[in-house]
Symmetry: D2
Subunit: 319 residues, 4 copies
Amino acid sequence: MTTNHEPIRDIAYLSHIELLTPKPTESLEFFRDLLGMEIVHREGQSVFLRGWGDQQLYSLKLTEEGQAGLGHVGLRAYSQQALERRAQDIEQSGYGIGWSDGDYGHSRSYQFMDADGHVLEVFYEADKYVTPDHLKPGLKNQPQKFSARGASVTQLDHINLFSSNVDADSTFYRNHLGFRLSEQAITDEGKQTTAWLHVTNKSYDLAISLDKSGAQGRFHHAAFKVESAEMVLRAADVFLDNGIFIEAPPNKHVAGQTMFVYVYEPGGNRIEVCSGGFLIYTPDWETVTWTPEERKKGLAWGTPLPSTFHTYGTPNTEK
Amino acid sequence: MTTNHEPIRDIAYLSHIELLTPKPTESLEFFRDLLGMEIVHREGQSVFLRGWGDQQLYSLKLTEEGQAGLGHVGLRAYSQQALERRAQDIEQSGYGIGWSDGDYGHSRSYQFMDADGHVLEVFYEADKYVTPDHLKPGLKNQPQKFSARGASVTQLDHINLFSSNVDADSTFYRNHLGFRLSEQAITDEGKQTTAWLHVTNKSYDLAISLDKSGAQGRFHHAAFKVESAEMVLRAADVFLDNGIFIEAPPNKHVAGQTMFVYVYEPGGNRIEVCSGGFLIYTPDWETVTWTPEERKKGLAWGTPLPSTFHTYGTPNTEK
Amino acid sequence: MTTNHEPIRDIAYLSHIELLTPKPTESLEFFRDLLGMEIVHREGQSVFLRGWGDQQLYSLKLTEEGQAGLGHVGLRAYSQQALERRAQDIEQSGYGIGWSDGDYGHSRSYQFMDADGHVLEVFYEADKYVTPDHLKPGLKNQPQKFSARGASVTQLDHINLFSSNVDADSTFYRNHLGFRLSEQAITDEGKQTTAWLHVTNKSYDLAISLDKSGAQGRFHHAAFKVESAEMVLRAADVFLDNGIFIEAPPNKHVAGQTMFVYVYEPGGNRIEVCSGGFLIYTPDWETVTWTPEERKKGLAWGTPLPSTFHTYGTPNTEK
Amino acid sequence: MTTNHEPIRDIAYLSHIELLTPKPTESLEFFRDLLGMEIVHREGQSVFLRGWGDQQLYSLKLTEEGQAGLGHVGLRAYSQQALERRAQDIEQSGYGIGWSDGDYGHSRSYQFMDADGHVLEVFYEADKYVTPDHLKPGLKNQPQKFSARGASVTQLDHINLFSSNVDADSTFYRNHLGFRLSEQAITDEGKQTTAWLHVTNKSYDLAISLDKSGAQGRFHHAAFKVESAEMVLRAADVFLDNGIFIEAPPNKHVAGQTMFVYVYEPGGNRIEVCSGGFLIYTPDWETVTWTPEERKKGLAWGTPLPSTFHTYGTPNTEK
C-alpha cells in the first residue's frame, strides 16, 4: 500500500486501445499496409494488431462498428497488487464498471469510465508475444523484425481524448491512476483546455483536450511512434502517395516537443505518427503552463494547427 | 514503505557523475567545445557542466586529479522518504559511508560504495537550474537553448562501470537500489561478464563490465545522449576534425540497440555519444541473456568492438 | 563554339551572391553564428563568407547598404573559352554591361543584367581556398572542418529572383546562359509564375518568381544547403532559440521536393535553409508544368506557404 | 565536335547495369523485397527492375547465369550526336565491339570493352517509364511512389569495377568517355590502386579497384542510393533481420565521404546501399590523391574495411 504522502505508481503504461471503424477493410489496410503493423489475431468483428516494437501482444484492437470512435483504452498495471489497489480505489470513487473476464491476450481486468465517459480497463496478467518464424528479428532483444513496410511504426505511443471537462478528467487520471501533469494549456480564467499527463518517463502518455461540441466521451487521436523525425517525414510521403487525408503536415508540437503528422484513417479516426519529445526524469518536475497568449504563437516554429484539430473528433458529431 | 513483494522504486535516475582528469584544461575544452556542454559553476579544482537538455543543474563535475577515473556517481531519489529508505537499507547492508552535507547544487546526500568500491551518493533535494538570459530557449518547456556547438549533446544518458565481480555488483544495485536487470552477457559457466540495468524506462541507466585486470573500482565510460543516429555520425565527424581519438566508430550495440561512438577525452576517460535504444514499458520484462557464442557475432551488424574496449579503463592500470 | 543543335553548357554553377544589408553587424552575426559560415575576408563595406563545404573561396559577399537586396550574382564558367563564348553572346544580345577587372578572389568577369535588371557576372579564373590551420578538416577531400556551429550550412545551394516578367527572364537564362527549365508554374493563360532552372544536376540552381508589385530587379531569397532533412529541422530550432523571424516552418516543396525553412535575416533578406531534392540525370527531362489548380494544393503535404512568400522581396517596396 | 582543348562531355550518366546470378529467384527477392525495387519487365532469362526514383525505365537487368558477375554496363549519352561521337572515337581506339539493335527499353547502342574487358554499351534513345496506376506518386515530378518496402532504394548510384590495371582503365574512361578523376589511391610507386571517376556532379559514378587475383573483367560492386545516412542504417537492419551477409557494416568512406553498407546478394554479387557524399561543382577540381600511408588509417572514423573487400569479386575466382 502506498503511504499518504507518496505518489500512486501503479500503472505501468498504456498497453492498447480499441478503435471502432465503419470501414473495417479500409481501416485494416491502413494500419497494416501504410502504418506497417502486423495482424496477430482475428475474433468476431475485431482484428488485433501490433507494431514491430510493441512489447505486449498487441496495441490495437480494430473493431467494426456503425461509427468511428474509441472502443476502450487498456492500461497495464505494474503488478497484481497494483491492479487490486486501482480497482478498489476506482470502485470506491464511483467510476467503476466492474471486473471482466478479460479479452484476447489478457486475463481479468477491472473496467471503468473516466469523468467524461471514456471506457477503460486495467489489467496485469497478459500473454506474451510469441514471434512467428517469418517475423523473427536478427536481435533477440527485439520483439519482432523491423516491419520495413509503409511508415513502419514502432509501437503505440499515446492517446488524446476529447473531454467536455478537461479539469475534471485530468484530476481523475491524477488522483485515481497516478498520472502526473507534465504540461497544461489554460484559459484566461485558469480552466484547462489541454492537459498532458504521464505515467512513464515519456512527457506524456495521455492528453486530454477540450471538446466544445457538447458531446461526451469522444476520441481525439491515437499516436504511433516512429524512430526519428525523418521517419515522420517519410510517413507523410507514404500518406501522400496513397491518398490518405493529411490534416496537419509534419511539424513540431510545443508541448512535449514531438514531431508529428496527423491524418484521418479511412474509418474516420484521427491518427498521429510521432517521434522524439523529451523524457521526464526529474522527480520534482513542475507542470509547464501555457497561456492563451502563448498558445497564439502556434506550433514550435510558428504556424497554427488547422482549426479542425480543435473541433473534429470521433464519433463525428458534426456530420 | 514498500511491501515485501513489491519492487524497490526509490531511485529516480542517474543525475550526475564526477570525472577526474589530469588534463583539466583540455578536458574542459572537450566537454564544452566538442560535446557542446555549458559551464554552470567552478569551485576549487572542479568545473560543473550541463547538457542543454539536462533537467537538473548539472550532469558532470569535472575535477582535476593526478589520474583519470571516476570521482563519484550521483543518484537522485524520488522523494525524501525514498532517500531515507535507501540510506537506511544501505547502512544496514554494510556498504555505507555516511551522510554528507551535500555538494554544489544539492543538499545532504548519503554516500556509499558499491561491491567493487565505486563511490556513489544518493540525494533528493536539489537546486533547480535557472537559465541565464543568453541561454533562454524558444520554448519554455526546454531547460536551455539547443547548444548548436560541436556534438550538441542533450544530457547524461548512462554510465558503465568496470567491476572485478559483475555478479556481485549487479546484485548490489538490484537489491539495494532497485535497479532491474534488462540484459546480461554471461560466460559458459553462467557468470556475468556484462550486466545492463535500469531504473527509468530506458533499457539501461547503468552497465557493469568485467574488469579482468585485477583492479577494482575502475571506470569504463560515461555516455551522453544526442537526439538521433545522424547526430552520432555528426559527433564522429566533430571528433575526427578535432583530433580526438576514436576508439570505436559509429555502430549499433546489440544490448540496448543504441547507436554509439566511443572516444577518449583528453584526460583519458572513455566517453560515448549515443542515441536511440528501446524503452522498457512492460512490467514483466524477462532479462535477455547473451551467451559467449552469441556475443561472438560482434555488434548488431556484425563487426566486433576493438579489444581495448574490454581492457582499457580509468585509472589506466596498463600504463 | 557549340554547334547549332547542341545545348549551351558553359556555366559550371552558381558561385556566389552579393547581398546588401542595412544592418551589417546583425546580418554578419546571422550568417556567421547562426548559419555557421566562416569569414574569409573583409574589404571596404563588404565581408566575404563561406560555408564549410563551399569548394570556391566564398559564396557570400555581404555588403552594407541603405536597404536590403541583391548586389549581384556570380556565375562560374566551365573554362576560359566558355567564359569568352558567354560574354560574346550576351554582348551581342544587348544585355551586357562589360568586362570588369574582377573582385576579391576572382579575375576579370563579364558583367550583365538579366531581363528584369538583376546584375550578374560570369568569370572563370578564381583563387582557391587555402584552409587555415584551425579549420583544417580530418579528411583532405573536404575543404574545411564541419563548422558545428548553429545550422552548420554546407554551401550556397540556389537563389530565387523576383521578376516582373518570368517568361522573359527564364528565356534569357535558357538562351544566353544554358540553363534548362526543370519545372514551371503557369497561369491559366500559360504565363510563367515561377520557373525553376538548372545548370548542374540539381533540379534547380535558380528560381524566378513573379513579382506583382510592379518593381523590377528585386530579390526573393538565397538558399544554403544542409546535409539532411533533420538538419533543416535543427536549423529551425536554432532560429527559434535565437529570435529570428521564421516566415515558413520546415516543410517540403512540391517543385524540386526540397525540405526548407524560410527566415528573414536581420537585414531583411529572405534566407532559406534547405536539404534534399532530386538530381536530374536524364538528358531528355521534360519540363514539369504545374497548373493553378495543382498549385492550390499547397506544399507537398498539403498546406500553403504564407501569403508574404508571394509578395515580400528585397528591397522591400511595401514599407 | 568538341574543340581540342575542351573536355569530352558526351556521357550523361550511368543508366543501368546487367548483373548475372546463379540464383535468380533468391536474387530477385533480394532486389524486390529487401532493396524495394519494382519489376518492370521479364524477358528470356532476365528481369528488369527499377528504384522508385530512377528517371529511366530501369537500372538493373538481372540475368540468370552459371556464375555471378557483371553482364554489361549501360551509359546514356547526352544526345544523338554525343552517341555518334563516342562510337566513332571508341571504334578508332580499337576497344569497339560494334552497334547492337538495342535491348528492352532502349534503341541501338554502341558496344565496347574497357581496357580490362568489362562489356559496356552507350545509347541515347530510350523509352520513358510509364508509371502504372498502382505506383502513381502523390507528386507528378517523382517517377513513382516511394516504395516503402525494405531498404526502399532510390536509384542506381554508381558501380565499382575490379581491374587488373587501374591506370589503364581509368585512362580509358577519361580519354574515351569523358570521365574526370575525382580521387585516386596510389602505391608508393605511383600506380593507381583505386580510381574514382565522375561524369555527373556526383564525386563518383564509377570506381575502379585493383584486382590482384590475376583475373580480368571482374565486378566489385554496384551501389544503390538511399536518401539519408539514417536509411543506410535502416537498410543494415533489414539485411540483419533477413539473413543477408553483411560484409561491412554502415560506416563512412574517405573517398567521396559516402555512408555505406556492403552485403552480398544471394547470387554472390557485392551490393552497396549508400547515401550522401559531396557533389563537385568547381570546374577546376584537383584530383585528390591518397598515399598508402594515408590509406592505412582506414575508413573516415578510423577502422579498416574487411580484407575480403580487397579480394572478393564476381565471378568468384577463389572458390
